[in-house]
Symmetry: C2
Subunit: 449 residues, 2 copies
Amino acid sequence: MKKQFSLSGFPDFNAIQVNRREYVLSLMKEKFSLFGFSQISTALMEKRDNLVGSYGDDGDKLIFQVLRSGDYLSRIQTDVKGLTSHELSSIISDKSMRYDLTLPFARFVSENQSFINLPFKRYEIGPVFRADRPQKGRLRQFIQCDADIIGTKSLWLEIDLINLIYAIFDALGLKNMVIRISNRKLLEGIFESFSNALDFSRFCTIIDKLDKLDFKKIQQLLLDCGLSQNEILLLENLFVFKGSFMQKKSHILSCFAINENLKIGLEELQFIFDNLPPDQNIDLDLSLARGLDYYTGSVFEALSLNSNNGGSVLGGGRYDQLTEKFNTKHLSGVGISFGLERLCLLLDELDLFPKDWNNGLDVLFINFGLKEAQIAQAYIYKLRKLGISSELYPDDIKMNKQLNYANKRGVKFVIMIGEDEIKTNKLSVKNMFNGNQKSLTLEEFINLL
Amino acid sequence: MKKQFSLSGFPDFNAIQVNRREYVLSLMKEKFSLFGFSQISTALMEKRDNLVGSYGDDGDKLIFQVLRSGDYLSRIQTDVKGLTSHELSSIISDKSMRYDLTLPFARFVSENQSFINLPFKRYEIGPVFRADRPQKGRLRQFIQCDADIIGTKSLWLEIDLINLIYAIFDALGLKNMVIRISNRKLLEGIFESFSNALDFSRFCTIIDKLDKLDFKKIQQLLLDCGLSQNEILLLENLFVFKGSFMQKKSHILSCFAINENLKIGLEELQFIFDNLPPDQNIDLDLSLARGLDYYTGSVFEALSLNSNNGGSVLGGGRYDQLTEKFNTKHLSGVGISFGLERLCLLLDELDLFPKDWNNGLDVLFINFGLKEAQIAQAYIYKLRKLGISSELYPDDIKMNKQLNYANKRGVKFVIMIGEDEIKTNKLSVKNMFNGNQKSLTLEEFINLL
């Protein structure tokens, strides 16, 4: 078996793939900027303490931890013998790879408060790392594209983010997309109406597994946590209930006793549904909880109804306390996060990538030896000055091999300069798409282009 | 003291800084592509074994190592007690952050040989990681911008890379730059003429410290390694010798006995100097060795003579055996690597960044309450459809505060829609640069823009 040198879940991308990714990113950046977000860039590593404990128990296990540098053991007093992996890690690792872009954003805002004009809108595009089991659409290193606003609780932001999501879908040609929305306060209100000792974060973690596990297993998890059969039945009915927002709202009010969280959650959703443009496909979905611990209000997800691969390409939500970890209080934020790889998978599945990409090399000069190459090189300088990409084949190997290379590389024109061409000051130009060959002066060739 | 939450050496970049970086990168990408390079993207983590041992002893110490995931100790047979840090790391870490882009490139080429058309030209731009002591211009996470060609020994590539470097300097407005060039074969030839038992890699590591340590210390290091006082004097004379390439060549031939490496090294340099355009500032500098272990031929560095901070912004060189680590033989490659942060420091020092950047928000609508906000939101949809970036201030706080926010953010126009404007179907438009305020219809405002 051939040895694999690359790490599973850590992808490389070839030129065609990079080109497709850049296509998506450039459209996305254009829309982020149209909606008033400016780009920042945060560090790829964080202090270990910044991350551990922020993503729930399940999330914590997926954080990549980086070893201290140098002879770290010599600087440790503790005897490492008998420690658990977790205990050892907390001593010999002080840095972690970032797990998302939201927490680094909260740190950035807290550390740069004096320079920041609140409410602060930023976007960031970059890799994040999760030690998940790699599978199709789930990598260990992947690109998130986040837009967040921090510094106000206004629900206009939720509305504007939903508009932004649809603007990006439109630009990419994605139709039949749906945004699922829920609200953590509403979920918490429902949860509070149950007679149980379960903690809400654990409840959300279980609900979040709904699209991965079948309902029988979810039932068992909820039973184990102390919910009654009757309560689980109420939940199940809630999850499968179909209808408009108003119908779902009535259903909730008929099934659960009203409390403060439930009331506020419903009011927040009402405002959002009242103020959305009518042409958008938004669905209240109470089975959506989002696994991340830090959400406190709206939570979103967006997916394609045309995809056979699940098709979820975006998550997001509102967080009220995320900056408190960094000693900054009362900064509510809300944001969305596109998964670039998921989006690319979807665009590929639906055949929505532009077809007209080429590798961009306009001209290859055949190498016939030192003297000819020197003359070719002089032409190349001139062409490049005009913005025409061109290069010399580096070795004077057989012409056939050089032409073959040009062909495989998708070069547009091959130029040959031999003794005749040197005498007549002309170029033999071969059009690689139709095979035509002509003798041209440099000016004639430039005009041809 | 305020607690620092960010890791030293791992920088964040605000919107203005990101904009400057994007300016440099877009010019650089344009030139890479003009010279026939296409972009790829490799993983940020590598198997630990891929990296360790590739960068010399000094480099190895600077590699960031990533802990295995989960309960790694339970899967280890060895007793961790009594291990050195190095031994423990080799057991509990299996991944490392990449140290440069060259080695991942060699891996990529080896793993994708069947899809690659050799000679293969690629560029890659992305972060690399080194556990160095952070200081001005030296970070632990920094962006390299690499262009490499692999699959031929042709020296035309060295020449083309030098042209590419100057094309990028020109595009950035950088004048008075110099490229220092040397050749590892020539250095090895000189080294072989000495009567010593030192290993060549160690010799290069010492020479590489020339611009960091004073010559007395270098002398001592070379003495400790077995060079004689006389040999060290020859070296020192070589390093300080001024003159053209031909003068330096004569000096070398007069000082050192000829051997195969010395002869080939000089021939390679001769070819490069013979075929460069005359207007470029290239200097043979034998004190340039480059610390990286994998170089086997030409080595480059580029720096600014106008800078007070050293001003080195680029390194590079030729490597003949780098893919052998990945079971692929006989692929010689050569490449250059710009340091983005170094380039930005230099452009900032020389005041070469464009001045006309703005944050890009064209219009902010003042929020006067629900009804007005709903109407504003409808206008915002229309403006954005036309590519005009606009947003609603999210909260209906005092107008002064909203105007103050618009001002700080550098918004171009503020639009107010109150009861009067709703009745007359007009907008009150305030130009934030000159303070003028006008009552306009939407069409009139769009024409104004």
